[in-house]
């Protein structure tokens, strides 16, 4: 996006203006998190599955070059055209070239966070290609000209009234209609027409199997398959970390993915593409775009294990109360906040601070990424690299000065408590960011240390 980036804290403030809306957003995502809990607890082997998945992914990181070459060899033998893109720009140009060569100017697309990361739709539309997103949630945000706010639930930030109004304007549904069944039916009819008239389809990739050269695409709606099986040209785009060694490993990952994402035991469709159908052309674009750099960062490389389930977002107290758009990155939430600084440290320096470090993200992650530890480590890298605004840096330095000098710390605590008691307006005002959307606590009369000194006999 070329729009100026609004920092997470500032965007969250806007998101928090309507209290009942924020409560609704918070509760809706917590509901999804609870479904994940119920579903995961039905499997006694859940924790072992997570550990196994994490180990398989670690093997992948440590054998990435071999696996990629094996995958390429097998995919080519299956009749798939394999392309390599070093960055977002090259990815977009490869897709454009494939379409131009076939003289295609309209394409359907199913969910692909990678193409969001590359801002592909924007690029293609500037080059005269119309892209229609076919996932219902993605179509909704596309009609609103905004990015998805969640990787699994793209329109989770919208109320049905917003969608009713949008469909009334664009799809001609009845004014004021908000019934999800009715609105979904309207979208089905609208998109069926697109499926039937487009000659090219782009899909993402959930898993790419080195052993067979096949790739797996998971959806609930069936939109990836509808697009791919009707089109003359199927383009699948993947970040190179999507690779797994063996087909049998899918057993582990498909058991974890949907349960972690929405609490379903599996997505409705788990489609295994190996060869193009007769007369069809199949292309696969393997993208780096900073991933090989991240692979070299020992503290952060585990982020490449991510299978994009979104569980860390649904559980995150900050995400639930600030919304996906406040993260100004294709992937929002805790995982987005450890991926984004690798793409641009200056632009995304605020994101690792958008966390309470409570650790809930790491606890639900199906591949056991140490997300909250990485958030903490990114903060240090970003401050040391001078990417953090001065005000925050001064704050951090002042805090470190106070915390590293016990006497000064005791004196500051006493001063703070007495100020809060005698002059509460000094903290209960809009200049104090901690006062926003919450009441300040009652200050205790003495610190624990004072109490301990008095009572230790």
């Amino acid at each position: 996006m070329s729009k100026a980036v609004i920092e997470h804290a500032e965007a969250s403030e806007t998101f928090n203006k309507d209290e009942s809306y924020v409560d609704w957003h918070d509760e809706t995502l917590w509901f999804v998190r609870k479904k994940r809990d119920i579903s995961s607890k039905l499997l006694p082997e859940w924790e072992e599955l997570r550990e196994t998945a994490s180990q398989i992914k670690h093997y992948v990181l440590s054998h990435m070059d071999d696996l990629l070459e094996t995958f390429e060899k097998n995919a080519k033998a299956n009749g798939v055209h394999v392309h390599w893109a070093a960055d977002a720009k090259e990815h977009n140009e490869i897709v454009l070239a494939i379409l131009k060569q076939r003289k295609v100017d309209k394409m359907v697309k199913s969910k692909s966070m990678l193409t969001e990361e590359c801002h592909m739709n924007e690029f293609l539309s500037q080059n005269g290609i119309e892209v229609i997103d076919t996932d219902l949630g993605e179509r909704i945000v596309q009609l609103r000209q905004e990015p998805p706010s969640h990787i699994v639930l793209p329109a989770i930030h919208l109320k049905k009234k917003d969608i009713g109004d949008l469909f009334h304007e664009h799809l001609g549904t009845d004014a004021g209609a908000t019934d999800p069944q009715y609105l979904t039916e309207a979208a089905r009819q609208h998109l069926r027409d697109k499926f039937l008239t487009r000659r090219a389809a782009l899909t993402g990739v959930n898993f790419a199997v080195a052993e067979t050269g096949a790739f797996v695409v998971c959806t609930n709606e069936g939109n990836a398959d509808m697009g791919a099986h009707l089109a003359d040209v199927h383009i699948a785009c993947m970040g190179f970390e999507k690779i797994i060694p063996l087909q049998a490993h899918l057993g582990v990952f498909l058991r974890l993915l949907a349960r972690s994402a929405t609490g379903q035991p599996i997505t409705t469709y788990s489609s295994h593409f190996k060869t193009p159908r007769q007369g069809q052309e199949m292309h696969l674009v393997i993208v780096d775009n900073g991933r090989s750099t991240q692979l070299g960062r020992a503290d952060f490389r585990n982020s490449l294990k991510c299978i994009r389930c979104g569980a860390c977002m649904n559980t995150c107290p900050v995400y639930r109360r600030s919304g996906g758009h406040s993260y100004h990155n294709a992937v929002a939430g805790p995982i987005g906040s450890i991926l984004a600084p690798n793409l641009d440290m200056t632009k995304n320096a605020d994101l690792p601070f958008a966390s309470t470090l409570c650790g809930s993200c790491s606890n639900v992650c199906p591949v056991k990424i140490d997300i909250h530890d990485q958030l903490y480590k990114w903060r240090q890298v970003l401050v040391q690299g001078g990417h953090v605004p001065q005000a925050k840096e001064i704050g951090i330095k002042a805090m470190s000065m106070v915390l590293s000098q016990p006497r000064f710390y005791q004196w500051s605590g006493r001063l703070g408590r007495s100020v809060m008691r005698t002059l509460p307006f000094m903290v209960n005002n809009s200049l104090n960011p901690w006062y926003k959307q919450r009441e300040m606590p009652e200050p205790p009369k003495e610190s624990f240390r004072d109490w301990y000194v008095r009572n230790r006999k």
């Binding site: 070059d65 219902l136 379903q264 489609s271 393997i286």
Partner: protein
Amino acid sequence: MSSREKILQQVKLNKPSETALPLHYTFESGYENTEVKFKEILQAIYTEVIVVGSLDELKEKVEEMYAGVVNKATTVEALSSWADFSLQVQDPHELEMIEIAILQAEFGVAENGAVWISDRHLQHRVLPFITQNLAFVIPRNALVNNMHDAYKRLLDTTGWGCFIAGPSKTADIEQSLVIGAHGARSMVIFLVEN
């Protein structure tokens, strides 16, 4: 240097030191009755499972269930006289008219209600998605417990194959579940006794 070489070179340079694959990566699901579990899971995802004693019984059942429906297609040989829509089309777009497709599939998975269908039984990949309503026919004894067992069965896949669990659905509007997003609006599974 091409992007391919550049990426592979940087990956080689930056990858962590080698770790081994876990030797043990499959788990058993000790269901008391695989078929009961399969039915229970499918019921929760709006799919009816019907056991029939023979192919003749299947035909009777199907004729009764879809009486009056037009544009019926099938890949099950025993049902060919029931179907009124030929799958001998050049362009898969022509399948758009199909109201109900009854398709031969390979096996089902009890833990999630998924059924495996592939090129082996299908001349048009889009068929299970483009049809308004979908039914699968699988042998009654072709049920496995979980996905590990499923992949043990799938030693190799054909050109394309898919696990399908229930009708197409979405919850993209305020998390309200709606059946019939882009794919089939309804699903029935026939288990045929051998």
